[in-house]
Symmetry: C2
DNA sequence: AATAACTGTAATCACATTGGCGACGGTATG
DNA sequence: CATACCGTCGCCAATGTGATTACAGTTATT
């Protein structure tokens, strides 16, 4: 692996689908532990991933007993691009940030590559925007309530 | 940085532009050391990056005194997608390879995400294919001989 | 009020990848 | 033969990810 396995995006999507499906069908908040069990990762990791999503308004959390997580927006309007933007918005897709070369050749090439990077990032976002959490719920054959969050 | 800075692609492109420009104008092989100096990285690193490119036929190398590297194909036909394929062809762009969840929800989501991954990878390759090493030489305002390799 | 069940966050650890660095052998030039 | 390269190995530091533990804060339940 050249790129260290970045589970955050996958975990986030999984959790959102879970919240949009199970959570809304059963009308309850869901704890980090249950989410972690479902995703096969650590509860703390789940909370770390969900933190930024909460800031972005995609989920809500309730502390205390019977607390937990609920989806914070209409699943039909949560495009995968939004999740991506929240979690990896700043990271370059091509992973270039090469050492800036001293020579004239390098300076020009670096500039051009940055332009390519922007193009590629835009293309990625475009593809991700084509699917929403609600789409995933449907495609994964999960029955779910649809509509704005409770 | 979520993604560790992966300089390999940037270094490879830089070196190819250098070979297509300086190397062919001056009609000589170029040593790893000179390439490393131009790219501000280690000579060993340059050789490690160029190894796969040689296997792919994009460059040639000559051992021994007066040895060094030459470009191995017409720069106009070396699209950035080829370089990408050689160096990062196997790595997922989205970095998902999340832990396979046990529950039914997860299995379905994982499958869908893999489909998205394929779409996104294709989009990235498509954008990269729009530019060739020869294009970069031109855009970087470097005078260079154009045509098939010597 | 006391307890239990959660979130929220910090600290630490193991692990993997990247890239710098040194060493040594192979090979072509002069 | 001496020199100047490539080619590859091994070791090292730095970095990022995720697991784990611990602890503080908040809320429902009894």
């Amino acid at each position: 692996m050249a790129t260290p396995t970045n589970t955050q995006f996958a975990v986030a999507v999984h959790v959102l689908v879970y919240l949009a499906s199970v959570g809304r069908n059963e009308q309850r908040s869901i704890g980090s532990e249950e989410l972690a069990g479902s995703t096969a990762v650590n509860p703390v990791h789940v909370r770390r991933v969900l933190g930024p999503l909460r800031t972005a308004g995609l989920v809500h959390s309730k502390p205390g007993a019977k607390g937990g997580w609920e989806i914070g927006a209409d699943p039909r309007e949560i495009g995968l691009d939004r999740v991506w933007a929240v979690l990896q918005g700043d990271d370059p897709v091509l992973g270039l940030h090469g050492p800036s070369p001293r020579c004239a050749v390098g300076a020009g090439v670096q500039e051009i590559l940055q332009g390519v990077e922007r193009e590629v990032s835009a293309a990625v976002v475009d593809r991700l925007a084509r699917r929403s959490i609600a789409d995933l719920v449907t495609e994964a054959h999960l029955e779910a309530a649809v509509g704005p969050p409770r």
